[in-house]
């Protein structure tokens, strides 16, 4: 859990980049910071790993004030993905991915295993890619490495600064899908900076809309579309998008509501479904097989998450885990 408490950042030239903001990022949530350029979204993010210092206020992670922590140590426990990718061109893919584990002093066998595991996860064959150099990969592949490099040290938190905006539209879509699946299956807290509303609506659990250094609105994608708090937020979303996304929401599928896999749940004869199945299919299988849980498989057929009876009902009733938000989805079903 990341908590901002009255955080302000004033740069040396007197510009107030971030003006007295307070908000909380819940554990396991993907929160996007969005706004026009100069709104302070990147500054806000970079204060979390102390790449930018705070002028006043506090940021705490799980209750511990980050100003009391050593920056180098703090950063090793926070994944970091940037728009410019920033792979080290003189190191192989394996060396790049194992950087943080090595800094943290892992044993060789451990980080080698981790590298293979992560490459597999993003669909790049370790035997083929491990010993290649970054410049031998396409932009989309490079950023996949950028993402798994951030995951390699097993940080509970990952910061992403417009990670997909320099990629071609197809790679961008793919990586957004992969990230969403990934986040659901590995349960990381992700702070994601973007200026692209479509991207935010697609991947976020919660969206923080910023303008001129202050927060305009914090809401789930659906809430944001349906109840923009002011004219700025409304215009930032745009009328077309509001209509289009409401429609999209009707096509919820399994991956959007699944929860991280817990090994104990997989024991026994649990039915499997693809991540792309509709919620209707999930409900049907649950009833016909008389089961409480269903395992959700990723593209490669390996299990990536689980949907419980409880979770499905909550979703269909329009209740989000952790609190009732009735009415939000009610018009969809």
């Amino acid at each position: 859990m990341i908590t901002f408490n009255n955080v302000t950042k004033t740069f040396e030239d007197g510009t107030v980049a971030v003006d007295d903001i307070s908000f909380t990022v819940k554990k396991g949530n993907l929160v996007t910071l969005i706004g026009p350029s100069g709104c302070g979204k990147t500054t806000t993010m970079k204060m979390i790993n102390k790449l930018i210092s705070i002028t006043s206020g506090t940021i705490s992670i799980n209750g511990n004030d980050i100003s009391e922590q050593e920056s180098v140590e703090l950063r090793r426990n926070i994944g970091y993905v940037i728009q410019r990718i920033g792979l080290l061109p003189h190191m192989t893919i394996e060396e790049n991915v194992s950087l943080v584990p090595k800094l943290k002093g892992w044993k060789k066998a451990d980080y080698q295993k981790k590298v293979d595991e992560l490459l597999d996860m993003v669909g790049l064959d370790p035997q083929v890619y491990k010993n290649r150099y970054p410049l031998e990969l396409s932009g989309g592949q490079q950023q996949r490495i950028g993402v798994i490099r951030a995951l390699a040290g097993e940080p509970p938190i990952i910061l992403m600064d417009e990670p997909f905006s320099a990629l071609d539209p197809i790679s961008r879509q793919q990586l957004q899908d992969e990230l969403k699946l990934l986040q659901k299956s590995i349960n990381k807290t992700i702070v994601f900076v973007t200026h692209d509303m479509d991207e935010a609506l697609k991947i976020a659990d919660e969206i923080v809309v910023m303008k001129g250094g202050s927060i305009q609105q914090i809401a789930t994608p659906t809430e944001l579309i349906q109840n923009p708090i002011n004219e700025f937020v409304r215009s930032f979303i745009g009328e077309d998008r509001a209509k289009r996304v409401t429609k999209k929401r009707e096509e919820l599928h399994a991956s959007t509501i699944m929860e991280p896999l817990v090994p104990e749940q997989v024991t026994g004869d649990v039915p499997n479904l693809s991540y792309h199945s509709s919620l209707q299919d999930v409900a049907r299988v649950m009833l016909t097989k008389e089961t409480e849980t269903i395992i959700i498989n990723g593209e490669d057929g390996k299990p990536i998450g689980v949907i419980s009876h409880q979770r499905l009902l909550q979703e269909l009733a329009g209740i989000r885990a952790g609190g009732a938000q009735g009415g939000i989805h009610s018009n969809l079903f």
Binding site: S71, L74, Y80, I82, R84, G86, L87, L88, P89
Partner: protein, 215 residues
Amino acid sequence: MESIQIFFDTIVTRQDLIVERAIEHLYLSFLAIAIAVLISVPLGIYISRKRKMAEFYIGITAVFQTIPSLALFGFLVPILGIGTLTALVALIIYALLPILRNTYTGIIEVDEGIIEAGEGMGMTPRQILLKIQLPLSLPFMMAGIRTATVLTVGVVTLATFVGAGGLGDVIWRGLQSWNNSLVLAGAIPVALMALFFDFVLKLLEKRVTPKGIKS
């Protein structure tokens, strides 16, 4: 045909002188470059971290470079007298700029995205220097050292005027005695040395270029 014969005769009769001066020449070149590297590389790393001062330091070395080499030797004689030391100082001053500028440029040209990623992953400034900035700027540094070496091997011929020896001695004797063969017997080895170092250092430059950034 006859002149070639005379040239070879000159080499044979004067071989002791030529070999001795060639060794002196190499010695002066090596020592000057080694010391210039020891000064320029750390200074280059230092000014890459204080970019406001960088232009000032590079400017100073650039001014040194504009002094005609013969005049530079001349300036130093009243201060340091005659001898090897004077020659060395002049040669070092001359070799500073290419190495300093290339070291500095090599380091600051490293993509900021890479540095930012390094910082964000929790690398210390020292680790960023040793694992990112230096390996990626090494080819630039080597190119600077190559330029400086070729330059120095040529300029060492002037060391004779401050009594520091080198192949310049052979050339100067040839000029004074209207002996063209002797002039060539001094000049050709200098040219060969310059070409040889250029070639060897170019190979080395390729070797130190990290595998992933070779095109």
